[in-house]
Symmetry: C2
């Protein structure tokens, strides 16, 4: 097709330095050879990255836009990440801030299978903000975790995810736990006539992840938690595109922090947790709340939420889930700021309000309803 | 077994701040809950991370050693990475500088299948430094790449790897290329009576990676190139432990730069490209030469090479491969500094010496022999 796609960067350095960096990136991320060794014709004219735009923003920062031949990425997510920020991750002063893909490529990556609407259908929650609780910590036994889940579900929580540190460990093996928690949540749902959804953590090696996802689906899980920073983005994509188990996927940002948080290196949070998670098939993207214990700023949150929710004719929208420091006190202002198409995850906080977990959930619901 | 393992960090901040950070890390990377919500007994006594050592190094840096319960990682590489640097990757000012694992855990991760000795056996190169060439750039057709490989092999190069950007693309599909290059290298070997080994790049999605590895082995590849930053570390581990195709694995650092290069965030290069690649099963670890176009310093190189070569009764040693800026001029001094158990990768440089590729290889060989 000979189409191209575009990557935008902020480069740190003097105007002269950033001009050289821009040319260097265009070479490194395509031919990877000194130009005098690159044959003229197709290699120089098409394969070689092209500096399409370069603006000096101030004496230490420039904006650069480079295009690459679409075929470079060979329809593979691993190679998309490689062209986006592969070897240049080993350089200093390069921040990837945007990407623009032609439609055929977007169609290849497919994006979320369920998206916001599909997730809401599954949760039977067509409108309004959603509340998410976490069963934790690792070290607790299966029955204790199931009991916690039961109490959250009785209180009317929308989703119960497992902590990203809860995997397959001696004190609670994955299969036993999924069975026990699914049962507990179903028992609560039949009492409340509710539709609380349980989300086990399937993060693991490539095969084991699929086995766990399958088991989880068979025993009543309603969605799956996966950490692509640990599994690789392709495991997320495969999980999303596989016909089985066909459950919505919630993606966790663990291990990806140093890729996002440096001011002049890496990939901006909106692009990584928003666009790339969405391209890879995440129906929901967990992100840290700014002001909590994580190094996220307000504009990072805004940007991830926007990239999840942005209309795109080819990719479904994904649901942002905000966690890592939400409390009874800041929930109203967050809800006002970010609106209804957001999941609010209360981790430890939901345990801390009082010892009565169902009542804690009800209290949060009342806070949100008062705000709606 | 109730054994523990140790992680060492450099923390950035005042002595008071780093003391608080150390306690915070011990909590975040284990229970992930405020301490008053963590039940006494097993959770507080065993699961909770323990600050075992804390030394103020200067008014902006402290050294901290924290131990975690071995069972926390549940014998999974994904979870080892998660405990090592999962959610705290989203904090600022934490650099992971060391890890110490008990033997049972090391035995679980197995490490390189071939190691330096096994790799040398396959190459029939029992002693001396090794030379590696790269077929590149992407965009060149299969037959042109095969012709390049033939000329490198005729010159007596030890290994020919594919560039990490050469994957499965319209201008050279993986299977055609592997077949053609294998044939070309075999043809050269039969002329020279040499044993040049061809290393195709199998980096891809989890299933496709295995299919490509299998195909590569069947058609005469002698080792495999994989980029764990793109595939996830578990895909590397699985490739190493699978009975088929049973080839040595060379791991490439693409996409991992921002995890290593910030002075006060991430994981130090020696630990990541040395120890962790080795634990995951890499027989050889590619690392950027300090002084080339990458942001690596001399001590980073030293440290990766040491971590690859360090004696360990349980894990085989892995072979460091130095690339990204090696030339005819600096090769002698690098050889003097790093010795014989190193592969020297000449990417573009090998093309640049002259248009006579076999002669370029011979010239490099002569340089190394003069130095030995």
């Amino acid at each position: 097709m000979n189409t191209r796609f575009w990557v935008e960067y902020h480069l740190t350095g003097s105007p002269k330095e950033t001009e050289d960096m821009a040319k260097g990136i265009a070479i490194e991320q395509s031919v990877g050879l000194p130009l005098q060794l690159v044959a003229s014709g197709f290699l120089q004219d098409e394969i070689l990255g092209r500096v399409e735009d370069l603006k000096v923003l101030n004496d230490q920062t420039s904006y650069v836009k480079i295009s690459y031949l679409t075929e470079s990425i060979g329809n593979e997510l691993t190679q998309l990440m490689n062209v986006l920020y592969g070897n240049i991750s080993l350089w200093k002063g390069i921040k990837v801030i945007g990407i623009e893909l032609p439609d055929p490529l977007k169609a290849y990556f497919a994006g979320p299978r369920f998206g916001i609407r599909g997730l809401r259908d599954r949760l039977r929650a067509p409108v309004g903000p959603l509340l998410m609780a976490q069963v934790k910590p690792m070290g607790r036994g299966t029955h204790e975790l199931a009991e916690l889940a039961y109490r959250f579900a009785i209180g009317g929580i929308d989703l119960i995810i497992e902590d990203h540190m809860v995997t397959d460990q001696t004190w609670s093996h994955f299969r036993d736990r999924v069975f026990a928690i699914s049962q507990a949540v179903q028992r609560a749902n039949s009492k409340t006539k509710g539709n609380c959804v349980y989300v086990p953590n399937v993060t693991s090696s490539p095969e084991e992840l699929l086995l766990r996802a399958d088991w989880a689906s068979r025993y009543g899980a309603g969605a799956l938690l996966v950490s692509p920073g640990l599994t690789g983005f392709d495991s997320l994509q495969r999980l999303s595109q596989n016909r089985r188990p066909g459950l919505p996927i919630i993606a966790h940002p663990t291990f990806l922090g140093s890729l996002m948080l440096s001011p002049n290196q890496g990939i901006v949070p909106g692009l990584l947790l928003g666009t790339i998670f969405r391209l890879a098939g995440a129906d929901c993207s967990l992100l840290p709340y700014a002001g909590g214990r994580f190094g996220f700023h307000e504009e990072d949150c805004q940007s991830v939420i926007e990239h999840c929710q942005q209309a795109d004719l080819l990719l479904k929208r994904s649901m942002p889930a905000l966690g890592g420091g939400i409390t009874l006190e800041n929930l109203p202002s967050l809800h006002k700021k970010y609106g209804n198409d957001v999941i609010y995850l209360l981790g430890g906080q939901l345990y801390g309000i009082s010892a009565d977990l169902p009542e804690n959930v009800r209290q949060l619901r009342r806070v949100l309803e008062r705000e709606t």
